[in-house]
């Protein structure tokens, strides 16, 4: 992969870097909004208050975990089990830091702020673009990228909570179409992570997960899929 010798002019200025961070965030924002609206609608349907639903998006800020929480409330799953599943779901985030670390500003405080905003999509966007940003402006670029995604997630949840009912009533087809954003998002993430080395683990995880989900065990499907995927993976050995 070729590396640019210098940052493009618009990324060399602090303001330009912030704007470029927001620009890089745009596809993430467009992808997040309908999913967040769906979360808002689904949260209300679970029996939570509007404030509870919005606060979940503000505090947890992890799509898969948030939907897991709703499904668990619906199914009456014990909260310890929910928290354990959430830990497993988020274990993949442990891998993002080491991969992104060399591009991020040195001060720990700045890194810990960025960490809160480090979702799958923000990581993927940052990992593919941050090297083109001048090192001095990476903090600003990354912060704006992360903040744009987080605020969109909160705004989308609020729209789902406060206007979702009206959307459902007046535009039933639009609501149905927007709900497709969630399966589409996970499929897109799977497709993006499917490198040659991970092809069979992903196929195994999909197959085992689908079998469990088809038999009505959706929570177990996630775990069983993950176990099957890891079991199928043959790491390359160093020569």
């Amino acid at each position: 992969m070729s590396r640019p010798s210098a940052a493009p002019p618009h990324l060399a200025l602090p303001g330009g870097a912030g704007l470029a961070g927001l620009k890089a965030c745009l596809p993430v924002m467009i992808g997040y909004f309908p999913v967040a609206v769906t979360f808002g609608i689904a949260g209300l349907a679970t029996g939570l208050s509007p404030l509870q639903v919005v606060l979940i998006s503000v505090l947890v800020y992890a799509g898969a975990s948030q939907f897991l929480l709703l499904a668990s409330i619906k199914a009456g799953t014990p909260w310890l089990w929910v928290v354990a599943l959430c830990s497993l779901l988020n274990a993949r985030h442990l891998l993002y830091g080491p991969l992104l670390s060399r591009f991020l500003p040195e001060p720990l405080r700045a890194r810990l702020k960025i960490a809160f905003l480090l979702t799958d999509e923000v990581f993927a966007t940052a990992f593919s673009r941050i090297e083109h940003v001048a090192p001095a402006h990476r903090n600003r670029w990354m912060t704006l990228l992360g903040l744009g995604a987080w605020l969109t997630w909160i705004a989308g949840t609020a729209v789902g909570v406060y206007a979702g009912d009206g959307l459902e009533r007046h535009f039933p087809m639009l609501s149905q179409v927007m709900r497709f954003a969630l399966p589409a998002l996970f499929l897109a993430l799977v497709c993006q992570s499917a490198t040659r080395a991970l092809r069979w683990p992903i196929v195994a995880a999909l197959g085992v997960g689908a079998a469990f989900a088809a038999s009505g065990h959706t929570t177990l499907a996630i775990l069983a899929g993950a176990v099957a995927g890891c079991a199928c993976h043959r790491p390359r050995r160093a020569p």
Partner: protein, 115 residues
């Protein structure tokens, strides 16, 4: 678990803390980050993230598919998924892939409704 009371807020706070810790821990363990990088590149843990995503995708998509009734519903769904997968592989951007998939699903659903 129910939707109210201390149990609910306890779960939300625990989930928020765990989510943040999994994102922040690698930066706190900078001295040991080589170990985490080795784990990311050379062990079964490297497959954990993608395998989890695949498991979640199956858990989200399969119940949807099982609830579909007739070609007027499953054709748009299949078309939307195919468009999403294609866009994700070709464009390498999850956001754009989601928009493409949702747009194709919407158009096919509208066409199926008018057929």
């Amino acid at each position: 678990m129910t939707g109210g009371g201390l149990e609910f807020w306890g779960a939300v706070i625990a989930m928020a803390a765990i989510t943040y810790l999994t994102r922040a821990l690698p930066f706190l363990l900078s001295a040991r980050s080589r170990l985490l990088r080795r784990l990311a590149e050379g062990s079964s843990l490297a497959a954990l993230g993608p395998a989890l995503l695949a498991g979640i995708a199956a858990a989200v998509i399969v119940p949807d598919v099982m609830a579909l009734a007739g070609p007027a519903q499953w054709l748009p769904y299949a078309g939307g998924l195919a468009a999403t997968a294609l866009a994700a592989r070709r464009l390498g951007n999850a956001g754009v892939a989601v928009i493409t998939g949702v747009a194709v699903y919407g158009v096919l659903l509208a066409l199926a409704g008018h057929a």
